[in-house]
Amino acid sequence: MVSDPTPSCEFVADVLAGRTRAVARLMTRAEAGTDECRPAMAEIYRHTGRAHVVGITGVPGCGKSSLVTAVTQAIRAEGRTVGVVAVDPSSPFTGGAILGDRIRMGDLVGDPGVFIRSMASRGALGGLARATLDAVDLLDAAGFDIVLIETVGVGQDEVDIVRVADTTVVVSAPGLGDDIQAIKAGVLEIADLHVVSKADRPDANKTVTELKQMLMLGLRDAASWRVPVIATSAETGEGIAELLAAIDKHRTHLSTDGNLADRKRRSAEARTLKIAEDLVRRHYAARRDAATDALIDQVSNRKLDPHSAARQLLGTLNSEITS
């Protein structure tokens, strides 16, 4: 809540030492969007890049939370540590949110090697919240080996996760016939791994076959990563070990064929542009005065074209943003 009596910078050492309270508190401040936490977050950023960031996405009801829980348990069984950032949608009407992913992650609570953070999307599109990556940075810097991002289960037309995760897992549930079509349209090509959840259901095999057929149609060149389709059941544990092995293998693949650097760079670019865009929007929203109103009026009255107006606007905002 509100401005902080403890300067955020004082938390940095504690975050790097992996202290839960400091990690959690700095996440809250980053999420609140206070500029005061920026120096601390800048320092944190210099200590990131070590964790394997895995995005898990899929339509609502496909079993993402259960899968995250099962995968986390498998990772923990090997002794590695896990951070989880679970994003749920905010209400477009009230701005509030009910974040329910923890219901399914109950078995993970109490293990110091697991840190779970629920986050509201707050109107952001693409399945992530604005502060999701700040949270990922904090978990990375705090020393968690793998960071899982569970995206909002929205339609998959705009998927940010692929631009920021090292490995993207797309989850489909059996029996969601129409959604297969949606997958075909948008998500097929973004997946590094496909998971068909609820494999204990009778119709799971059909979905696996359908997905495999679609993947054949869009076959990439032989040297590149072959996207596996893995059937899992969070209930029986089927396929979870296989999935974890595939996640690890993908990371190895990235680092051996040089793609990892490309991905990291792609992520840096996407993130920087996104923040720039947000900054412009926020500063514009905060400013909104007679001068900007007049500018918009001119465009509205056809006295000025929108391109010229945008350039003028950027000129005006520029000094404020960079000061």
Partner: protein, 138 residues
């Protein structure tokens, strides 16, 4: 520029074995509709799970609902764990069915407020806002 996304975070939990979640879900919905971020942990949680989740989620408020009559066992344990976790700046609220004398005792122990059955939703929202404001920034 200051924060624009400054929201009250509330963790809502059912602790113990009873499954009466009609009230707690209405509370979650009302708090969301008042613009808060509500983390709902589901049923049958232990005090350890609740406190550990609250610290990771860095919430302003923990709301525990309980209709099994075990409140005099469970709340003291939660308070003890909050103390151990250095999380006493989190406000603890209780809800459910309990006798008035227990309410007095729980408040003396450090529960910020007890919201009994039939507390109107608007009053619950107002109470959370007031308590967070009174506590101030942290």
């Amino acid at each position: 520029m200051t924060s624009e996304d400054d929201k009250i975070r509330v963790l809502i939990a059912k602790v113990g074995l009873d499954g009466h979640d009609r009230g707690v879900k209405i509370v979650a919905r009302c708090l969301r509709d008042a613009g808060m971020d509500v983390i709902y942990t589901g049923l049958h949680r232990t005090p350890d799970e609740v406190v550990s989740a609250a610290v990771q989620e860095d919430v302003d408020v923990i709301g525990i609902s309980l209709l099994s009559g075990a409140h005099m066992t469970i709340f003291p344990r939660v308070i003890e764990l909050m103390r151990d976790a250095d999380a006493e700046d989190i406000l603890l609220l209780g809800g459910g069915v309990m006798p008035d004398e227990d309410v007095v005792e729980l408040k003396a122990m450090g529960v910020a407020e007890i919201l009994l059955q039939d507390t109107p939703p608007a009053e619950i929202v107002a109470t959370v806002k007031r308590l967070v404001e009174e506590r101030g920034p942290r």
